[in-house]
């Protein structure tokens, strides 16, 4: 890459590129963003948004518990959430069922609320 080709498109992050100057020597140059990179990042975030919306509806229909919703909202998957909760994945998966969620102890609820950085009320009602 030539130093005058270092892309200066719009993005939320300025990172550093390595490029060659006119004499063929490597230099570093900041880039404000690159369109192809932004496209793939945005699409991947769109996918998360789609899933969040989908799960929100399922929570409203009482098909799954709010824990699944907050997991997606925090860009986690089951293994990340289980690691934060400090229990096996299948234990966390059980809490995705509304019936099991309603039986959770206040201690467990508090733990989940802390993981998601929200209050217990918010954990119980995703519309707050």
């Amino acid at each position: 890459m030539k130093d005058n080709e270092v892309p200066q498109d719009k993005s939320s992050f300025t990172d550093l590129y390595y490029a060659v100057d006119k004499e063929g020597n490597y230099i570093t140059k900041r880039s404000s963003g690159w369109k192809p990179k932004k496209i793939v990042l945005d699409r991947s975030l769109d996918m998360i948004d789609e899933r969040v919306k989908d799960i929100k509806q399922k929570v409203m229909n009482n098909e799954v518990s709010p824990i699944m919703y907050y997991m997606e909202l925090n860009r986690m998957d089951m293994s990340v959430l289980a690691a934060y909760f400090g229990k096996w994945k299948w234990r966390v998966k059980k809490h995705f069922k509304p019936a099991n969620f309603n039986k959770l102890s206040s201690k467990s609820l508090k733990k989940y609320a802390d993981i998601f950085n929200i209050s217990i009320d918010e954990l119980k009602d995703i519309n707050i």
Partner: protein, 332 residues
């Protein structure tokens, strides 16, 4: 307290922390040199491991390995510590700062408050340097940021104790011994050989063979999993290739800069022309990313576009294979 520490923005966090910490301790080493001596150039495709709902691809070896190889090759001794208890992790860090020692930390990205929201994922092998403390605020030199930044002690604890894959467990590190009169030449030759060995490895998922395996899969994906998923899979490759830290083109340009520096150190003009060659290959990776990202817009069932992208990757693999063979000879 504030340690007189020079923050230098780098492309990649691991090389950046190495470069900044070593320079502080009297060993001037550029990011490309650290990357090259740590044999940072790599490619691996893990179709059976899904990350963010797409097969895992990596353009770098596993986190920490660059630093480990570099220290070994240069005879540098690094002290690394993990802590079960966050309180003792904080205490150990504070003691070092009091003794004027800047400290490297492994952290999770998701709760780094100074990162833009769209870059915050659960990636736990990020690196930064703490170079001071002002009451309850830690002074942070994060090598991928333009300027130094800050984190409260609560925020720092959160990122030091991120959970999941590569959980940092409060890991901190700093050099305790750097030999005097370090000679780079032997380390460079060793490192280049290791890179060629990795990239030409007779393993179907590693190096140029790994690239070919991806290229073959790209041709099959549209029929097998549909264009939507194919685009997502390709998007993941592009993200890994161009994400913060690669310096562009899946680290190929940083490696070009390394070969240029190595050429001067070893007085080997052949490495300079090879630097040019890997730069051209880096440009091909950029073209690959452009074409792959365009496929998102191409919603029609035009499979030809996928074949073209796949062919591009085959060309890159062929060129890289020739490149590593020449590189191996150049330091023989």
């Amino acid at each position: 307290m504030k340690i007189d520490f020079k923050h230098n923005q780098t492309a990649h966090c691991e090389n950046g922390v190495i470069s900044n910490l070593m320079t502080h301790n009297g060993l001037t080493i550029s990011e490309p040199l650290a990357f090259g001596i740590g044999s940072g150039l790599f490619f691996v495709y893990l179709p059976f491991l899904k990350v963010n709902f797409a097969p895992a691809v990596s353009f770098r070896p596993q986190p920490g390995l660059i630093f480990k190889r570099l220290s070994k090759r240069l005879g540098i001794k690094i002290k690394r510590q993990k802590f079960k208890d966050p309180k003792s992790a904080k205490k150990a860090l504070d003691t070092l700062l009091k003794n004027n020692t800047p400290v490297g930390l492994q952290v999770g990205v998701f709760n780094l408050t100074y990162f833009p929201d769209d870059y915050r994922f659960h990636f736990n092998a990020h690196n930064l340097v703490v170079y001071g403390k002002d009451e309850d605020t830690y002074l942070i030199s994060d090598p991928v940021m333009e300027e130094v930044t800050m984190l409260s002690s609560k925020e720092l604890e959160k990122v030091r104790y991120a959970k999941g894959v590569y959980a940092p467990k409060g890991q901190m590190y700093y050099p305790v011994h750097i030999p005097k009169n370090i000679k780079f030449d032997k380390a460079i030759v060793k490192a280049i050989r290791a890179t060629c060995r990795d990239m030409l490895a007779p393993v179907p998922i590693v190096g140029v063979r790994g690239m070919r395996m991806v290229a073959r899969s790209i041709k099959k994906w549209p029929n097998k999993i549909g264009t939507k998923k194919t685009n997502h899979y390709l998007g993941q490759i592009v993200r890994m290739q161009e994400e913060i830290g690669t310096g562009g083109g899946g680290f190929r340009f940083i490696y070009g800069a390394f070969l240029q520096e190595a050429s001067d150190i070893l007085n080997n003009p052949e490495l300079k022309s090879l630097s040019k060659e890997i730069t051209d290959i880096g440009d091909l990776w950029r073209d690959f990313a452009i074409d792959a990202s365009r496929l998102y817009k191409n919603r029609s069932l035009e499979f030809d576009g996928y074949n073209k992208v796949s062919d591009k990757l085959f060309v890159i693999a062929d060129k890289e294979e020739k490149f590593y063979k020449k590189l191996k000879k150049a330091v023989a």
